[in-house]
């Protein structure tokens, strides 16, 4: 069919995003880390887990770009492989908490009443505790491992998504087009899935992007205090912890993973902020 091309709101948001400078920077950083994660075996110069005590605590050189750590592992290669872990943690945790947050928020917002009260009070209790503390409690219960750290971080971030989605659902469910769906006899579940949720996604996308950064930071924090990645894994937070005792002799071993964490979180936050602007029809 020969229809004239219309500029949909998605197209419009996309164009706004391209004009946004922090979006470009944020997206470039995120893209950079994704490429590094995909091509880690090609980029890394050494096996990230291979200890070599003879070469321990070396400075930067042509052989070891960022030097070596306390047991002689190549820091550059460990940071490169650490990208994989961090992105994995961020994506899995975010997907998990969005899934459950959406479910809880949608039920609370759409049905209201007792379900709303029950769900949101539990969420409030979770929000009342600092996220890292709650995550520590959960990992302590489940036992120390990276998987459990991911689970902990996912659970901790559920309330944020639930609240955001509930607020959107409360706004959307009163709109005429939702009432129109009731008039044609659509079931509640159908209305929720086909009509309400698609119109609640914009704030969720923003929060998800910001949330990946926060999840990465929290997971690194858990690993730093020894509740995350197993000993010897090339995880940035764990690396910080391992190398902390050498901070005077070899500052690079600590700063390098720190900068990596800082950059990846910055990238996701810049992208999230820009997305928020792009999806807001009032900012043009």
């Amino acid at each position: 069919m020969n229809t004239p091309i219309t500029v949909t709101s998605q197209h419009h948001a996309y164009r706004k995003l391209l004009r946004h400078r922090s979006a470009t920077i944020g997206a470039s950083i995120v893209l950079f880390f994704i490429i590094v994660a995909i091509f880690a075996p090609v980029i890394a110069t050494h096996d990230p887990r291979q200890a070599n005590v003879v070469e321990r605590l070396q400075g930067g050189s042509a052989e070891h770009y960022l030097g070596t750590d306390g047991v002689g592992r190549d820091i550059f290669s460990r940071i490169v492989y650490g990208t994989r872990i961090s992105l994995k943690v961020g994506l899995i945790a975010m997907t998990f908490s969005i899934g459950f947050g959406t479910l809880f928020g949608a039920i609370a917002g759409y049905y209201g009443g007792r379900a709303d009260n029950l769900i949101m009070r539990v969420m409030d209790m979770m929000l009342a505790m600092p996220s890292i503390l709650l995550a520590m409690v959960i990992v302590t219960i489940l036992g120390q491992s990276l998987t459990n750290a991911i689970i902990a971080v996912s659970i901790v971030y559920i309330p944020q998504y639930a609240r955001i989605l509930r607020a959107s659902v409360l706004r959307v469910r009163e709109l005429d087009y939702v009432i129109a769906a009731k008039v044609i006899g659509a079931s509640d579940r159908r209305i929720l899935v086909t009509t309400v949720l698609p119109n609640c996604l914009a704030p969720l996308i923003v929060q998800a992007t910001l949330g990946i950064g926060a999840a990465i930071l929290d997971a690194a924090g858990l690993s730093f205090i020894g509740l995350g990645a197993e000993v010897g894994e090339p995880e940035w937070g764990a690396m910080l912890n391992e190398n902390l005792k050498f901070i005077r002799r070899k500052p690079l071993a600590v700063t390098a993973p720190g900068i990596a964490i800082f950059l990846i979180v910055l990238g996701f936050n810049l992208l999230g902020d820009a997305l928020r602007d792009a999806l807001d029809p009032q900012i043009d």
Binding site: I179, V183, P198
Partner: protein, 332 residues
Amino acid sequence: MTKLLEVKDLRKYFPIQKGIFQRTVGYVKAVDGINFDVQRGETLGLVGESGCGKTTAGRCLLRLMPPTSGSFIFGEEQVDLAQLTHREMLPFRRRIQMIFQDPHASLNPRMTVADIVGEPMRVNRTAKGPALEDRIVELLDSVGLRPQDMRRYPHAFSGGQRQRIGIARALALQPELIVADEPVSALDVSVQAQILNLLAELREKFQLSYIFIAHDLSVVEHISDRVAVMYLGRIVEISDAATLYQSPKHPYTEALISAVPLPDPSAQRKRQQIRLEGDVPDPSQPPTGCHFHPRCRYATDLCKTETPQLQEVAPGVQVACHHSDTLELQGV
């Protein structure tokens, strides 16, 4: 003509809740015992100021909110829709559809026109595949939209076109009754006429009945066979449209009619304008007696104490006013 719908003593009270225990301290009587009927093929206008309960009445009819009491006897089956459960209501949902006021809020911005118009048929499984596609094209054609419009999103259309999409959606299930909630009040005047003509045309074509809710008598005049005037949750006058305009029997109707501008400027100048004093009273604390008495020019002491009942004063004309037989009220 046969009776399609009979509304008996419809009431909708909204509780006013206060404090942390949500104690009910009073009620807003949005709709306070109204009775009317709709004949097959007829358009009943439901008129009144904002807050008089006309929209609430319409939404109760569609079971979008549960009525506090009352019954809606519908169709040949004489089923009382107010008593049905949600599941039992489903087959009747197809037969009563709705047109919305704001064409910008009533269409899902993330669905194409084809999805919006096709959704009722998909939900009710009345058509699918190529048959569904054909039916969508047919519906779009009957509201004056082109088949190639179906792949576009609502924001690409003007207000009038969007309202046409909403009308096509309402027609999709071949309803018998359409509740039109101020369908033209959000549109430009030039577009209003087009939509009114379209509604009249569709009524003939598909043998529809309308309950046409509006706050503007001039709009209702064109499309309605009979008009019911509401004030503060009650019907004050029902009569056929021509009679209502020529010789209103209730002072409130008279005031509404005098607010309709006349096309002839000299006639407009000569006419006596009735300006109602004050606002619609708070529906949680309605005036005693006749609800209209604080704003009525003809009010007597009787009006302050006794509530007038809706009574037949002439064939087809019902009025709720103590003085309807003595007042000489001005029409158009």
